[in-house]
């Protein structure tokens, strides 16, 4: 019997990780991406390798996913991670109060944490606000967004996955029963239409997931929610610095190469393909960033940008759960042949892929175990150097 | 899927002289190529002139008398200028190769060119007043 053929739409974090997982499970994988890798949300991710601390109080399901995946990613793809840890710092009474719930939450989620006195924290990170009241050291990290996805893509490619970049899905091919059997694409390098068939189509388009499912008359409750980030031209810190409070605007500062990046905000939009960087949001990042690291107030801006999170389910903006969900549209809309994976965040990309591949395998009646927890990923450069 | 147009190729030597977007080091690079071509051209010219000697002393003396005018003197000055500009530019390359003034290569270039121009001026004055 020939290999089952899976088409994955979207080569962001979820798409590349799913390609890696399915390739390991013996699928013939084709990834379709309308631009180059990570041109949407994934490339513009803040870059925080979550320890789960941020979600330990309100969203423990996400927090546990984060700490588990954090440990796995450190093992399988160390080449794109700065495992320097992170600090949650308290600057006022309200932060201190939140601290109690934070300790409980982290313990419940098995997130290792160590409380530091202000002096100890300042010794580790001399540039943080010296008025801090307390600090917690947790195993956060930072990653290089594009290169994380490229590492998954490279390994998938080594295992036979094909990447069709600059190829946009125009419509889904639907059989007489309303089931999805392939995709109609436009090769943007040639301005030429093509038709590809597959045993299963995986919609890994994140914030754009709704646009794809609509083509088959199916529905996903994804709410695109962009946030603004601002990079400054000096590396003030070596660890991820978080405000010890419930998630809010501009409460994370990350080191990235010679920069620090402050993020992020949360707003709603109409057009997904171009989201302007709101000036008042960028200003807010400066103010909030300077609360955590005073020197940011006088630092030179390197760049401001935004990324659109694919939030799912009920809840507005910050209150929405940050977990992910895989939809088998046979169950939700009686459309067979189409699976959508969306929600989640960069840190949990491997788990999202595992879940999706599980759903795909059970739909096609294939028995193959997930191996992605163990298989180390190859150099991201190999994605570009291997023939397609 | 890829085009040959944008690949590196020896036929693209013309881009060595392309001026758009150059900065100091780039202009030094252009200057070195132009002066090198000029000096090479002069080398052959020089050999042709020397070949006049083969036609006997009088042919050579006539030729020397013929080129004794300001236009040819200016031509000779150009050769001198090319030699000094190229030579001092070469000193920049040697120095930077051995780690001297690498981060200040622009200042080094301007400094050396300043010296070269002074020398060229001295030569010019002497050649036209002699």
């Amino acid at each position: 019997m020939s290999k089952p053929h899976a088409i994955i739409i979207g080569a962001g974090f979820t798409g590349t990780a799913t390609a890696h997982d399915l390739a390991l499970r013996g699928f013939d994988v084709t990834v379709i991406e309308r631009g180059d890798l990570c041109n949407g949300t994934s490339g513009r991710t803040h870059g925080l390798l979550h320890s789960g601390g941020r979600y330990a109080v309100k969203d423990q399901e996400s927090a546990i996913e984060c700490i588990d995946e954090n440990n796995i990613l450190r093992k399988i793809v160390p080449q794109v991670i700065e495992p320097n840890g992170g600090l949650f710092i308290a600057l006022n009474e309200s932060d201190l109060q939140y601290g109690e719930a934070f300790i409980e939450g982290c313990e419940a989620c098995h997130i290792p944490l160590e409380e530091l006195k202000p002096g100890e924290a300042l010794r580790l990170e001399p540039n943080i606000n010296p008025k801090l009241l307390t600090a917690f050291l947790i195993p956060d990290g930072t990653f290089d967004p594009l290169r994380l996805a490229l590492s998954f893509a490279a390994t998938a490619k080594k295992n036979g996955a094909k990447f069709r970049t600059y190829t946009e899905v125009k419509s889904l091919i639907v059989d007489g029963k309303g089931n999805v059997v392939g995709v109609n694409v436009m090769d943007r390098r040639l301005n030429k239409s093509q038709e590809w068939r597959a045993d299963i189509v995986v919609n890994a388009t994140g914030a754009w997931a709704g646009e794809i499912t609509e083509m088959a008359g199916a529905h996903v409750p994804v709410k695109p929610t962009p946030g603004v980030m601002v990079a400054y031209e000096q590396r003030f810190i070596q660890r991820a610095i978080n405000r010890l409070n419930k998630p809010g605007d501009g409460d994370i500062v990350l080191p990235q190469r010679r920069m620090v990046v402050v993020g992020t905000t949360s707003f709603e939009i109409d057009n997904l393909d171009y989201v302007p960087v709101l000036e008042n949001h960028a200003k807010l990042m400066l103010e909030r960033g300077a609360e955590l690291i005073p020197a940011i107030a006088n630092a030179k801006m390197r760049g401001k940008y935004m990324a659109t999170r694919p939030l799912i389910g009920a809840g507005e903006g910050r209150s929405a759960a940050r977990t992910f969900k895989c939809y088998d549209h046979k169950e939700t809309d009686n459309v067979d042949g189409l699976v959508t994976i969306t929600g989640g965040k960069a840190t949990t990309l491997r788990a999202m892929a595992e879940k999706t591949a599980d759903v795909v395998c059970s739909k096609l009646g294939i028995k193959a175990a997930c191996m992605t927890k163990e298989v180390p990923l190859i150099s991201y450069r190999r994605y570009y150097t291997m023939p397609n | 899927m890829e085009t040959q147009r944008n690949r590196p190729s020896p036929s693209k030597f013309w881009s060595w002289f392309f001026p758009v977007g150059r900065q100091t080091g780039g202009w030094a690079y252009v200057l070195n190529r132009v002066t090198a071509l000029g000096l090479t051209f002069y080398l052959y010219l020089h050999l042709i002139i020397l070949s006049k000697l083969a036609q006997g002393p009088s042919a050579y003396d006539d030729f020397l008398a013929f080129i004794h005018n300001p236009v040819y003197t200016f031509g000779e000055l150009l050769v001198v200028a090319a030699a000094f500009l190229h030579g001092f530019n070469g000193i920049r390359i040697v120095l930077t190769t051995f780690g001297v003034s690498v981060t200040r290569q622009k200042q080094l270039f301007y400094g050396l060119m300043f010296i070269a121009i002074i020398i060229i001026l001295i030569f010019g004055i002497r050649m036209f007043t002699a």
Binding site: G43, K304, R381 | N32, T96
Partner: protein
């Protein structure tokens, strides 16, 4: 962001496999404090869906959006429109040179990544080995546990700007030689043979264009010069070792 808007013409290099290269012009209203990449992205979003270009992080950490803006290599995500053109003017955007064009502004940088691997250039460096020359970026050197992503973002701007790379396809190129220098010849003796060759450090003719366009302050030219010094001293010491 400024209140005034500029009207500019974005003149973009276009090339599909089955058609001759040409330039397309797009009249658009821009904010001078936007980045060039924002304008290019808007052309794709609202004016011409067939435009191909690479981009990912939008803040100079991924190196995908390198293009030639008015003939000069720029990382378009951090290049203000204000700095490269003026109201009413034409802004020319072209793909990087010296790499094969995939389509329009997107180029195939496979050769660069291949060579970066061949010299063992590492994406993440232990902090003790990482060079930091800008004193404002100092950190506590006693804490050797820190690891950082290296400065070079492999954007290819230096290869595009280099006049030597234009004529010799075998030249390793500034980024790669900088990667070799960061590794150091002492750490990896095999590197010596690779960089001490016709297509290695001696192909550089000191135009310093690489350093001028580098968006990450890697200073490839200085690193090439340093490699030359290392090579000469290594060759000399080998010579004397053989004699004694």
């Amino acid at each position: 962001m400024s209140e005034t808007k500029w009207n500019i013409i974005l003149k973009i290099y276009r090339q599909k496999e089955n058609e001759a290269p040409h330039y397309s012009e797009y009249k658009m209203e821009v904010d001078p404090d936007e980045y060039v990449l924002d304008a290019v992205e808007r052309v794709w979003a609202f004016m011409d869906r067939s435009l191909c270009f690479r981009h990912a992080c939008h803040h100079s950490t991924c190196g995908a959006c390198g293009m030639r803006v008015n003939g000069v290599e720029k990382l378009t995500c951090i290049t203000y429109i204000r700095d490269v053109t003026q109201d009413g003017a034409t802004l020319k955007v072209e793909p990087l040179r010296n790499f094969p064009v995939i389509s329009d502004l997107a180029v195939d940088m496979g050769s660069l990544y291949c060579r970066m691997d061949s010299v063992g250039a590492r994406p993440v460096l232990p902090v003790t080995e990482a060079e930091i020359e800008n004193p404002s970026n100092k950190w506590n050197p006693e804490d050797a546990k820190y690891i950082r992503l290296s400065d070079c973002i492999e954007c290819g701007l230096c290869i595009s700007a280099c006049p030597s790379a234009a004529t010799s396809s075998g030249y390793l190129g500034p980024a790669v030689l900088a990667g070799a220098q960061a590794n150091g010849l002492k750490h990896d003796p095999a590197l010596l043979e690779l960089v001490d060759s016709e297509d290695g450090v001696w192909r550089c003719h000191s135009a310093f264009e690489c350093t001028a366009v580098c968006p990450s302050f890697v200073d490839p030219a200085r690193r090439i010069m340093n490699l030359r010094t290392q090579i000469v001293s290594e060759r000399l010491s080998r010579l004397f070792r053989r004699k004694s």
